[in-house]
């Protein structure tokens, strides 16, 4: 929902928003990150995308740019050269043909650009440059602390989760290197808090060793260590107690679905017993707030699955009341978002629930949710626009520009979001948002992002999809390699899971 902000930033910088209207070599507009894995809705605005991890490829692109400036070549010549760098996607060198009904017929590379752009990864995280002396804003910011990245990728393979697929293969940093980086970053920034960052912190193999090493320095230096992204099924209370010497606040877990059957279908392998056990220990140990995150609209979901969210919340609330030792009472918060199918996941072919369907399910949940539980939900209209752009093609760029010209900004913020303006933009540009959000794709359809690869094979995604329909789980990558294909990016083809 930040796409209009990108156009706005270009405009505020005094630049034409479309790449073709910026004819000079200076400036070049470059983008990356998770959205680059379906760059198509932004294709006409951005000169070049970088797929995957930037540490090395950014330097290669800059070197190429320096040479282009030295030699005084045209922007087009620079882009042609840059397209030869692995991981660089120059959208203007790709020609997209459509069927009459709007589906993509083919994507063809021109000007010597590769047919398939494969993302870049860092093979050895211990050897790559990692900034310890960072810019430290003097005003309070989001993440106002040292962020220490412990590993990339995720062993879990939750079928709805794009991050779980596009950041593969799993690569860890060594505890020694992390301890040194963390302490240096604190000394150089002056921060008094370190937060470990990864997709699932409790899956880091050397977590105890890392925490011990950091705490040895943190405690005498009044520095806090925080551990987000913990899973309910392998959560260590000893660790939590050691780390969280400061006040006991709340716990947050994301079971994502209410019933075990649906949790199996999405491969979120958390069992209710594990959740209950963790919560019991937490409440007995004095914690008094619990937040639970769920999604509605997941593939194969029935009304029974939806109601099960309320039942699970009820059981957790009863458990909390029975076991809590807190004098202030217990608070359970349930937050329910609307599922958005994402590219490069096993659910990339699925239709999203319609807004009416989401609203009906929210109403159903409201009717069943115990009064004592704090219940909040997301606006399905925002999730609908997200779903349109998540799996959009480059024709959507017109709608995006139209929406921005009609005043859309900061659409991720409820107070700025105008559904009407977005729908007007689709109407004016002759595009049907349902075509993108609410349509199930055939598995032989050419998807707008098929020429952008994160290293995970399409066959793996299809296998995972059919297992989802059978509510069959896939064990995590440490139990058994699932053959997703991302390991081929590593020398020797063995991943670090």
């Amino acid at each position: 929902m930040s796409y209009t902000n990108i156009l706005n930033m270009l405009d505020l910088a005094g630049l034409p928003v479309r790449s073709q209207d910026r004819r000079e070599l200076k400036p070049v507009v470059m983008a990356g990150g998770s959205c680059a894995f379906n760059a198509e809705p932004l294709a006409p605005f951005i000169d070049l995308f970088v797929l995957g991890e930037g540490e090395e490829v950014n330097l290669e692109v800059l070197e190429c740019y320096r040479a282009a400036k030295r030699e005084g070549v045209s922007k087009k010549e620079f882009l042609k050269r840059a397209a030869q760098i692995k991981g660089v996607y120059v959208p203007e060198f790709y020609e997209v043909d459509y069927h009459a009904d709007g589906r993509v017929r083919s994507v063809r590379a021109r000007e010597g650009a590769p047919e398939i752009v494969e993302k870049r990864i860092i093979r050895d995280l211990d050897k790559v440059y990692y900034p310890v002396k960072t810019v430290v804003p003097s005003t309070e910011i989001v993440h106002d602390r040292v962020m220490l990245e412990v590993f990339r990728g995720c062993i879990r393979g939750c079928r709805f989760c794009q991050a779980g697929y596009i950041y593969r293969p799993v690569r860890e940093k060594s505890a020694d290197a992390l301890i040194k980086t963390g302490i240096d970053a604190c000394k150089l920034s002056g921060y008094e808090e370190i937060s470990l960052s990864s997709l699932s912190t409790s899956d880091y193999r050397h977590l105890e060793e890392l925490c011990d090493g950091l705490l040895d320095w943190c405690e005498p230096n009044n520095t806090n260590l925080s551990l987000p992204s913990l899973r309910a099924d392998n959560f260590s209370f000893e660790l939590m107690e050691r780390v969280q010497k400061v006040r006991k606040s709340g716990l947050t877990f994301a079971p994502e679905a209410g019933s075990q059957r649906l949790r199996d279908a999405i491969n979120k392998n958390v069992r209710e017993e594990d959740l209950a056990k963790t919560c019991r220990i937490a409440f007995e140990g004095g914690y008094n707030t619990l937040k639970l995150y769920f999604m509605i609209g997941l593939p194969t979901e029935t009304d029974e699955d939806v109601i099960e969210i309320a039942r699970l919340a009820y059981r957790m609330h009863r458990l909390a009341k029975e076991t809590s030792t807190s004098k202030r009472g217990v608070k359970i918060t349930v937050s329910v978002s609307c599922f958005v199918p994402k590219p490069h996941t096993p659910f990339q072919w699925e239709a999203q629930n319609t807004i009416e369907e989401f609203e009906r399910k929210q109403e159903l949940l409201r009717a069943h949710m115990p009064r004592a539980v704090n219940f909040s939900w997301h606006d399905p209209r925002t999730s609908y626009i997200e779903a349109v752009f998540a799996r959009g093609d480059r024709r959507l760029a017109d709608a995006l520009e139209e929406a921005w010209r009609s005043g859309c900004r900061f659409d991720g913020w409820g107070e700025y979001f105008s559904f009407e303006k977005w729908m007007d933009a689709f109407r004016k540009t002759g595009l049907d948002p349902d075509f993108y959000a609410a349509r199930e794709r055939d598995t032989d359809e050419v998807l707008p992002w098929d020429h952008l690869s994160c290293g995970v094979s399409r066959n793996h995604l299809l296998r995972e999809r059919s297992k989802a329909y059978r509510s069959e789980i896939t064990p995590d990558c440490r139990v058994r390699c699932t053959g997703c294909g991302a390991n081929k990016m590593l020398e020797g083809g063995v991943c670090d899971a």
């Binding site: 003097s138 005003t139 309070e140 604190c186 000394k187 002056g190 009044n222 400061v246």
Partner: protein
């Protein structure tokens, strides 16, 4: 352990930092300089740092007071060390007696610069002098109980006007009993009289004691 009272200047981009951001920035500055501060011993340790009568956002100051407790005893090079690590606009300019009671602050010395696009400074000064020579200058002040009317004249010890390069320079001593009034109320009184300046710059020169000598 040593109690210290540091004097610092806050100007340039740092003038837009809020009080809490200034506290956090100093705390990080001490850490970067490797100077350990005494911390509270509760659940959530934070450094003992306090700033006397913190400036509003956008106001600059040249001799602001920061009290802290450093863990080492003999670090007399502290201001130089700190200045190496503070961001642009924040600077330690000296040290003061940490044992002097802050209640001895009797006045805050401000310079306000009023920019007028279409009024001649001399003309403005004439009207301003007339306004501030009145015994009653009512302004509405925001308090915890809502808006209350106060007499601005009660808070002003003395005020002077002169023409400066930029417009009209107002020197004013505000009584600090117990806390100095926010100087923006002067501007509100001026606005009431339709002498609305196009732009105002606020600067605090420092604090004075009851004898009108620099407090620190």
């Amino acid at each position: 352990m040593r109690k210290m009272r540091l004097m610092f200047a806050k100007d340039g981009v740092a003038s837009y930092l809020s009080h809490l951001d200034v506290m956090r920035t100093f705390s990080r500055g001490f850490n970067r300089a490797g100077i350990q501060l005494r911390h509270t011993e509760g659940f959530n340790p934070h450094p003992y740092l306090s700033i006397a009568h913190p400036l509003s956002v956008g106001v600059t100051g040249s001799r602001e007071l920061l009290d802290c407790i450093v863990m080492s005893d003999g670090d007399y090079d502290l201001p130089r060390k700190m200045n190496e690590f503070l961001p642009s606009g924040l600077r330690i300019v000296g040290e003061a007696d940490p044992d002097r009671d802050l209640n001895e602050i009797a006045f805050a010395d401000f310079t306000l610069t009023l920019f007028y696009d279409s009024v001649a400074p001399a003309e403005a000064i004439y009207d301003l002098s007339a306004l501030f020579s009145r015994p009653d200058i009512p302004v509405m002040k925001k308090s915890k109980k809502g808006l209350v009317q106060v007499n601005l004249a009660d808070s002003i010890d003395r005020v002077g006007f002169e023409i400066s390069d930029d417009g009209v320079s107002v020197s004013v001593l505000l009584k600090a009993n117990p806390a100095p009034l926010n100087p923006r109320y002067l501007i509100e009184a001026i606005n009431e009289q339709h002498l609305i300046p196009d732009f105002v710059r606020y600067h605090r020169n420092g604090f004075l004691d009851a004898d009108r000598r620099p407090f620190a």
